[in-house]
């Protein structure tokens, strides 16, 4: 146990250690820490690699059955990725969270021998494959321990020599340590919120003194300890405490739709689906819950629940009563142990929350911030007005809320960031108009014609003419003619501004500057069904079109390619076109339906858009 002091704050680690002592490997089981891994040097690494590639297929087999297939090998930038190398590189740098936080993905990518540009893909690969794998590994170990060293479980572990397993665990532990550090940051920041009583109670006991607690639970109450460990592990995987701050950059600021919700939903779904998971441990009876408070992570769950119910009922002082009133699903505590849950889902939601931790700790670590963080600031102000008990209550709610939210349907609550790095400097209003730079008011490029012309207002804003003198109204020629007419008219009206506004670069006319061959090449690239290639193309278009500027390409894309595609779509499925959704657009190129739909007229794709069938203009 020589490494304990380093981890004295690490509850989850302690738990792991505790379990080990109880479990199959007495003695030399505590984490040797990073040093060991480093010293292990080549030999150790080889062994690890060997182990990794033994374990990984087992994991895939396991997770594929519930999670959909994850293809191997993993290709990034057209090269096969050495997952083990990635895994160990990230671990060397302190784990996923730390790498993300410190922006080390670039160096990881470089060391993998890849172009740093693809660092986000590498990160994604890690996220998709290895984070989950790591979790699975941990889970497997724990489960094995629970079964008292029964190596006969079918997780592909029975072949493993003990010492290699230990080393692997060392890898995991170094990661755990980081997480615990992060957690420490969190508890620090929470403390700063003057959250004296309750939070100290909670964090103090749970996060800082787990050593004692663990020993106690181990020695004194075996069953409870078992349970304790369970919930502790549950917490470890719990969104709120897993300190992956890097995740803020990953998930929080995403504006695009993507699967922001799915992680959460999957998590919820699993709990709903497996209420009676055989691995569920007995939970103390509700009557005992109150005394359970604050002793371990189970208590923390209770607090979270309490916070939720407080928030729902908005009566902050009925904490204990609402505690008993509300029922909580047993599976809530067991989520970590439960099998068959899509672990990525959990990962998603688990990584979203700690961002709050980050933003808080950040603003209060910021030395130049006189306000500290917002919670501190605002609640201090409130504290002046409110009776003290009430303040503590609200504080408790607000801090535990972050823990509680992911289990509810409610959205995550984000606070407005406060401090000199966030607010604009607004001068006080003096009543005197300050100088506004009148030099830069924009250059007038279009003047109003004088009032006499205003009289002809009937001309302004008229729509499409219903009648025209064309032989076949609405035919392609007719439409083309009128487009050209309007274009001409505009050109005459606008003069040079026509060019400055880029009207000469609008519409399918752009294609006149392209050769047929170039157009075909462009189309082929766009249609290629490898999404990354498409992205890659835009990263480096000059490789394909050395003579075209990026601007030309973009202009061609929007003015010709998309319009042609749209024309095609208009005919195939006029009622459900969404030319703006290029995910679907290109997706449909790549998936079966779209491919077939487009493949047919593939060769005469261009002709299609230009031929005479466009009669659907009415």
């Amino acid at each position: 146990m020589e490494e304990w002091p380093t981890f004295s704050n690490g509850s989850s680690l302690d738990c792991l250690g505790g379990v080990e002592t109880v479990g199959a490997f007495p003695g030399n089981v505590c984490c040797p820490g990073k040093d060991h891994v480093d010293n292990g040097a080549d030999h150790g690494k080889l062994k690890q690699k060997y182990l990794f590639y033994q374990l990984f297929p087992a994991y895939l087999k396991d997770s594929c059955s519930m999670d959909g297939v994850r293809p191997l090998p993993v290709l990034v930038d057209g090269q096969q990725l050495d997952l083990y190398k990635l895994f160990s590189l990230v671990k060397e740098r302190g784990g996923y969270a730390r790498v993300s936080k410190k922006g080390l993905w670039g160096s990881v990518t470089k060391e993998l021998g890849l172009n740093p540009v693809v660092c986000w893909s590498v990160k994604l690969v890690f996220d998709k494959y290895l984070n989950d794998f790591e979790r699975w590994l941990k889970k497997t170990f724990e489960e094995k321990n629970l079964k008292n060293g029964n190596h006969g479980c079918d997780w592909g572990l029975k072949l493993l020599p003990l010492d290699i397993e230990k080393e692997f665990r060392a890898l995991l532990c170094s990661n755990l340590k980081d997480k615990d550090d992060d957690r420490l940051v969190k508890s620090k920041s929470i403390k700063k919120k003057k959250n004296a009583d309750l939070v100290n109670h909670k964090n103090g006991n749970n996060l800082l003194d787990t050593n004692d607690q663990n020993n106690k639970s181990k020695d004194v109450q075996r069953i409870e300890g078992d349970n304790d460990e369970k919930s502790a592990n549950g917490i470890k995987g719990n969104p709120a405490t897993l300190g992956a701050e890097g995740a803020e950059k990953e998930f929080n600021p995403r504006k695009r739709k993507r699967d922001v919700l799915f992680g959460m939903l999957n998590w919820m779904k699993h709990i709903a689906k497996h209420p009676l998971d055989p691995l569920t441990q007995p939970i103390p009876k509700p009557s005992k819950w109150k005394e359970y408070n604050g002793q371990d992570f189970f208590g923390q769950f209770l607090r979270a629940r309490e916070a939720l119910s407080l928030r729902q009922h908005e009566e902050p002082n009925s904490g204990s009563s609402s505690l008993q009133k509300q029922k909580m699903h047993p599976a809530m505590y067991e989520d970590h142990v439960a099998f068959g849950r899509p672990a990525t889902g959990k990962l998603r939601c688990s990584e979203r929350l700690p961002s709050f931790v980050k933003s808080r700790s950040c603003s209060c670590c910021n030395p130049c911030s006189p306000n500290g963080n917002r919670l501190a600031g605002s609640h201090n102000m409130e504290a002046e007005k409110c009776p003290p008990e009430k303040t503590t209550e609200t504080l408790d709610v607000s801090t535990t809320k972050t823990i509680a939210e992911p289990s509810g349907d409610e959205s995550l609550e984000k606070q407005v960031s406060v401090g000199p790095r966030f607010q604009a400097e607004v001068p006080e209003w003096t009543g005197v108009v300050s100088e506004s730079d009148s030099k830069w008011l924009g250059t007038q490029v279009w003047t109003l014609k004088n009032d006499t012309e205003h009289a002809t207002e009937t001309d302004i804003g008229k729509g499409r003419q219903e009648k025209c003198s064309c032989e076949f109204h609405g035919s392609v020629e007719c439409v083309r003619l009128h487009i050209a007419e309007n274009r001409m008219k505009l050109k005459l009206e606008l003069g040079s501004e026509f060019y400055r506004w880029g009207f000469d670069r609008m519409g399918e006319e752009v294609s006149l500057q392209w050769t047929t061959e170039e157009e075909k090449r462009f189309k082929d690239i766009m249609k290629s069904n490898i999404p990354s290639k498409n992205k890659y193309f835009w990263n480096n278009p000059s490789k394909y079109f050395p003579k075209k500027t990026r601007r030309n390409l973009v202009s061609y894309y929007f003015n010709v390619f998309l319009i042609q595609l749209r024309t095609y779509q208009n005919r195939v499925s006029p009622k459900s076109v969404d030319s703006d959704d290029d995910e679907v657009e290109f997706g449909s190129f790549s998936d079966g339906f779209g491919m077939e739909a487009v493949k047919g007229p593939d060769d005469d794709f261009l002709e299609c858009s230009l031929n005479k069938q466009c009669t659907d203009f009415e």
């Binding site: 607004v426 108009v433 730079d437």
Partner: protein, 429 residues
């Protein structure tokens, strides 16, 4: 009869030619399409069109931190791999990619909003439009949600040089967090945002409980809504709240962010507004006859964005546009109907009547705090008190407030403030 509003419309031909990258929902090309459609409808014959200056870094740094602006200026797609730490620090990558001419793009749209504000300040126009602007998520020191430079904050800061109070209204489906955050502590800007809130919808802020802090307490208003809100409930709520806000707050100018992602069928949005409903909000704000700065914002179904902002340009010009889109180079984008109005979908409105009325009550309740607060505040900050008179002097009284509002204003002055005013003046003299 009031078509005499002078409209300044800002556009730069380069703004639509940048590309955020494959599969990125933000497509500046929509600005080309909008401009093209506006001109196809001959709307340019009723307004002045300006090319904005490219805002200088120092102008951008009036709100943003200098290091951030400097970094935006320096970074290019080719060099970004050298600055991974900074990219993370400034939240670039993924949602806010670094692309060619990024900084120029920012300079143009920010320049447009700043110029628009200056033209309003100098009373060179009554309404200024910059569809390229409205990037309301950008933060002081970082990019966020496709936004790099917060032109709205810069525009408002410019307006604050001439106006004691500026009202910011945001009908983008996303919360206007950047603007709210920038003015969270001040009562000189009131931010009102109508947005989708909940289900981890970006950006995650915008609960009704966020009301501002310190002097800014009660000067940030959030109207969190759920999926599928339709025209009638949205416009009713909008009108109730905004009329109360204007009546209470008496802004000197209004900035309206018209994000078109609140329209039905938007790729990222989840509301069910028709273009008419959206435009009705614009028209309602226009009727206050206050200096008005209108910007774009979100909007990720290009052709609907073009339709929407064209219709709204028409609304601001008091011109009703015929439904059939004139033949133009982009006509094929507007298939299959080739019309301006697109029907809103059969989406369920998850906003129950009771929910909406709860929100409304809450907002109005907070507004009431403002009405009462000044008795305290006005004494502490006397300048605030002189503004109404000043504003009236500054502006052409014919144009400013319609008689009804003005009457109310005068009456209220008598009722509540006269005594305080006297005190104040005595104190000063």
């Amino acid at each position: 009869m009031r078509s005499k509003d002078r409209i300044a419309y800002f556009y730069d031909g380069d703004v639509g030619s940048v590309y955020f990258g494959a599969k990125h929902p933000m497509k500046p090309h929509r600005l080309c399409m909008t401009h093209h459609l506006v001109l196809s409808y001959d709307l340019h014959k009723k307004m002045e069109i300006y090319r904005p200056h490219k805002a200088y870094p120092v102008e951008l740094a009036q709100f943003h931190s200098a290091d951030y602006v400097e970094f935006l200026n320096r970074i290019t797609p080719d060099t970004q791999h050298l600055f991974l730490n900074e990219l993370t620090k400034y939240n670039l990558g993924e949602d806010c990619p670094v692309f060619d001419n990024l900084f120029e793009f920012c300079q143009i749209y920010a320049g447009g909003t700043i110029d628009a504000a200056r033209r309003l300040n100098n009373q060179l126009c009554d309404i200024a439009i910059n569809w390229a602007g409205g990037l309301h998520h950008a933060k002081k020191c970082e990019a966020s949600g496709f936004c790099y430079i917060n032109d709205l904050v810069l525009g408002i800061l410019e307006l604050l040089k001439y106006h004691a109070r500026v009202l910011y209204i945001d009908i983008d489906v996303h919360h206007g967090d950047g603007v709210e955050e920038a003015f969270y502590f001040t009562d000189r800007v009131m931010t009102v945002s109508f947005h989708k809130y909940g289900d981890s919808f970006f950006p995650g802020t915008g609960d009704a409980k966020e009301i501002g802090e310190r002097e800014g307490k009660f000067y940030a208003i959030n109207v969190p809504l759920k999926d599928g809100i339709d025209d009638s409930s949205f416009t009713r709520l909008f009108k109730t709240i905004i009329s109360k806000v204007v009546e209470t707050y008496q802004p000197g100018a209004i900035v309206l962010q018209c994000g078109a992602d609140s329209l039905a069928g938007d790729r990222l949005g989840c509301f069910n507004l028709s273009i008419d409903g959206h435009a009705e909000c614009v028209s309602f704000v226009k009727r206050f006859n206050l200096p008005l700065l209108v910007t774009g914002g979100g909007g990720y179904t290009k052709e609907n964005v073009a339709r929407c902002w064209t219709v709204e340009t028409g609304v601001l010009l008091d011109t009703e546009l015929p439904n059939e889109i004139p033949q133009n180079d982009y006509i094929k984008y507007f298939a299959p109907e080739f019309s301006l109005k697109v029907p809103n979908g059969p989406i369920e409105n998850l906003n129950s009547k009771s929910y909406l009325s709860t929100i409304k009550m809450q907002v109005l309740e907070n507004l009431r705090c403002i009405q009462h607060a000044p008795s305290v505040q006005m004494q502490e900050v006397p300048p605030d008190f002189y503004i109404p008179e000043f504003d009236e002097d500054e502006q052409n009284p014919d144009e400013r407030i319609d008689q009804h509002t003005q009457d109310k204003h005068i009456q209220r002055d008598d009722e509540y403030y006269d005594g305080d005013n006297d005190n104040d003046q005595m104190n000063i003299s």
